[in-house]
Symmetry: C2
Subunit: 212 residues, 2 copies
């Protein structure tokens, strides 16, 4: 049976889930498709092009059914959560995105919606664009660390344990205390904390004055 571009793309996403970004190989993908190495290159001109298509596919529908009447901060938080969920839905999703420069269709839709919400918060064009960047960096960084911690060399010791062992209580007392007080290092609650930080900073930054 003939291969379609969509088939290559969706199989690539499956392979990503199964083996991770590091092991996602054009040769392995071709094998999964039951085809020779070169065949994949007829549908995508390079691995980079395939990765970009995968990244954009992960964002499909990210702005669907947004409530345009919701207050701006709810829309900002909602978009951040949607991006987070999209990144976490696939193994190494965040790292896949971080490796790309992406003026890709769905990513642009996301950016548009985010900037629109921030404009409604009273921000200038410039501040809205920059704030959208800050929120997006946070979402990406948080998701990347969450997935990195989940996919570490599985010696049986999870990321937190490795970190705890590396911290000397005398040299890093605050870090040591913080680790003792933070049982589960990641997850939704952790994510929401940082997101709230950013959103709370917006009204304070929308004016001209600054506390710095």
């Amino acid at each position: 049976m003939r291969l379609s571009k969509e088939q290559v793309l969706s199989t690539a996403l499956d392979v990503l889930d199964e083996v991770g970004l590091e092991q996602l190989t054009m040769r392995r993908l071709s094998a999964r498709l039951g085809v020779q190495n070169g065949a994949t290159y007829w549908h995508f001109r390079s691995k980079q092009a395939l990765l970009e298509a995968m990244a954009d596919a992960m964002l499909a529908g990210i702005v669907d059914d947004l409530d345009p009447h919701a207050p701006w901060h709810a829309r900002v938080a909602g978009l951040a959560h949607r991006l987070r969920r999209a990144l976490l839905a696939r193994r190494d999703g965040a790292r896949l995105f971080a490796s790309l420069f992406f003026p890709l269709p769905n990513a642009l839709d996301y950016g548009e919606a985010m900037i629109a919400a921030l404009r409604d918060a009273g921000m200038s064009h410039r501040d809205a664009a920059w704030t959208a960047d800050a929120v997006t960096y946070y979402v990406l960084g948080h998701a990347a660390e969450e997935q990195l911690a989940a996919g570490l060399p599985d010696d049986g010791a999870p990321a937190t344990t490795r970190l705890t062992r590396a911290v000397d209580p005398h040299r890093h007392p605050h870090l040591h205390a913080a680790l003792a007080h933070v049982p589960a290092p990641h997850g939704e609650e952790h994510f929401d904390h940082g997101l709230r930080l950013l959103v709370n900073g917006i009204p304070a930054s929308a004016g001209t004055a600054s506390s710095m």
Copy 2:
């Protein structure tokens, strides 16, 4: 002449600056050292170990001469700027960090100093740790994008131009307008904007109430 571990490390950083992370190869490094491929593996047991050593070397002295009497927000901003400078000092520095899980000595010193400053802002152990993460994600994300834009395939068209071409004014009016109002997409001013957002959010988040 015999190779030293320090010599391998510093040459690796030179090669990174010259050819970028993608082209930084154990074989190329060995060639630069005037030595066979396998020789490098006597000093570092894997490429991963070398990359970690490089990352930590880039953070050398990151907490030196901090003023412990400065107000907390100045210390937080100062540490963020120091991290940013360290990342930007080497080609692909931010991406190098993003690819590692790092309980590395200098990174821990940075974390310790950051959490200490946030504790002085009145935060709990948990909130201080989480806020430190948020600030660090932002610094990393911003630096990574800045370096990515700088090192794109040089068709003569810089990142902004590529982005502008991809944006349809009808589908993405806010994005289009924002691009028109943001001539230089990156740099210190852009960075400070997002940093201010985070720092301004801290007092608002230090209490129990939340606006979300």
